[in-house]
Symmetry: C2
Subunit: 219 residues, 2 copies
DNA sequence: AGTCCTCATAAAATCGATTTTTTTATCGAT
DNA sequence: ATCGATAAAAAAATCGATTTTATGAGGACT
């Protein structure tokens, strides 16, 4: 008897998820070449599902593939971080505008709920992964009502890219407190449908995270 | 002795390219489920490279993958076409602004060259694939100098999505002539660095293509 | 010394077969 | 007749082995 899993995970998708998480977490060195046989034993999967996951990850932009010489973790370049942060700011402000216009009561309550979970996670600084997940979900919830599937897709992709840099950088408790406070204010602006204030604050928020993330490129 | 190929293509990347082309061309029915064994014999490749290509294509958004039940060609929905066209317009106008600001002489000459090739292709209406390639390259060249790798990446992805709809729609010779003319005017605006005119025209251009492409959803 | 070749090794890519899961077909019970 | 269970067939996913290609060490030649 098999469990009625939400979506019975194949080995491919499991190792995809695990690898994605580890790549964003910074478990691998930037620029490192991945040794397939090592990954195989580490993630306990066969060659085929592993290669399928690696192929998906390079199409997603978390790996680089060169044709006859395997897979490589992308380098961390300040120039690219700037590109990611700038674009992220533009796209998220675009989405915020639409979300504030289209969002209904259901959106509001999901956003408030996501924010509540994030504040709970703020209180337990030792559980990093829980906070990271709550944080990602909060930002998703903020823009979820924007109405554009493709915009959300690109924003998610940029967010993952951005996090790869941010999580590599040394933490800054002062700034961290400020960032946390901004989340609450963002919710207020959302409930007030104050687009101008929301955009300005989200832009600040990303700029501030950007400053933190820069710490990973020039030590 | 092996040929010093530009980048020795693996079976995976070859079938990826071929499948991508066929998907955009509309060789498969929308919503169709892909029969792996059929593809295998059609593209003359083994299972592993084929599956790797399919995985890449679903990460790219040209296929949908459901975990234990294979790969499916995405349906064509008017709503999605609208989303793609809107976002494409926004992102391309963004890129155009930056390209007009940053573009140097090299950019100008590559753009003029790409336009020249496109006009040549216009003259031979029977060679569709050649025109399609020239057209894609022209639009790439127009925005190439924008300076943002990630923006270009997303635009390329949206362009592929858009083309899947456009190429399914019945051709409209009248509009087609107008669209062709717009390409020339876009080059003029680029050389004049007239950002406002360029954005307005590019927006029109996409809107007009959008109208044509709509023909595929409601026959 | 430096460059170019050759061979040995390691890694990537591919194949064919096997295992697992889904889909379809069949049959019996209500 | 419809529903549900079961068995057979088909398809997807995975494995292990093989083939192909890149990498690196050694040696001959200029």
């Amino acid at each position: 008897m098999t469990l009625p899993d939400s979506a019975s995970a194949t080995a491919s998708s499991q190792v995809f998820d695990a690898l994605k998480k580890d790549l964003i977490r910074g478990k691998f060195k930037a620029g490192e070449k991945l040794a397939i046989s090592t990954l195989k034993s580490h993630y306990r999967v066969g060659l085929s599902p592993l290669r399928e996951a690696l192929n998906r990850l390079s199409a997603y932009g978390l790996l680089e593939q060169v044709n006859q010489r395997g897979f490589r973790v992308p380098a961390m370049r300040l120039e690219e971080l700037n590109d990611i942060a700038n674009l992220r700011s533009q796209l998220e402000c675009m989405a915020l505008t639409q979300a504030f216009q289209n969002g209904d009561a259901e959106w509001e309550s999901l956003l408030v709920a996501a924010h509540h979970r994030l504040r709970r996670a703020d209180e337990m600084p030792e559980q990093i992964e829980e906070w990271e997940q709550a944080h990602l979900r909060f930002h998703r919830a903020l823009l979820a009502a924007c109405g554009s599937t493709w915009l959300l897709r690109f924003i998610e992709q940029l967010h993952d890219q951005f996090d790869r840099y941010r999580r590599m950088a040394p933490p800054n408790p002062t700034v961290r407190g400020e960032l946390d406070a901004q989340h609450g204010t963002l919710v207020e602006h959302a409930l007030n449908r104050d687009i101008a204030a929301g955009r300005a604050l989200l832009d600040d928020h990303i700029r501030l995270s950007h400053d933190v993330a820069k710490g990973c490129c020039q030590p």
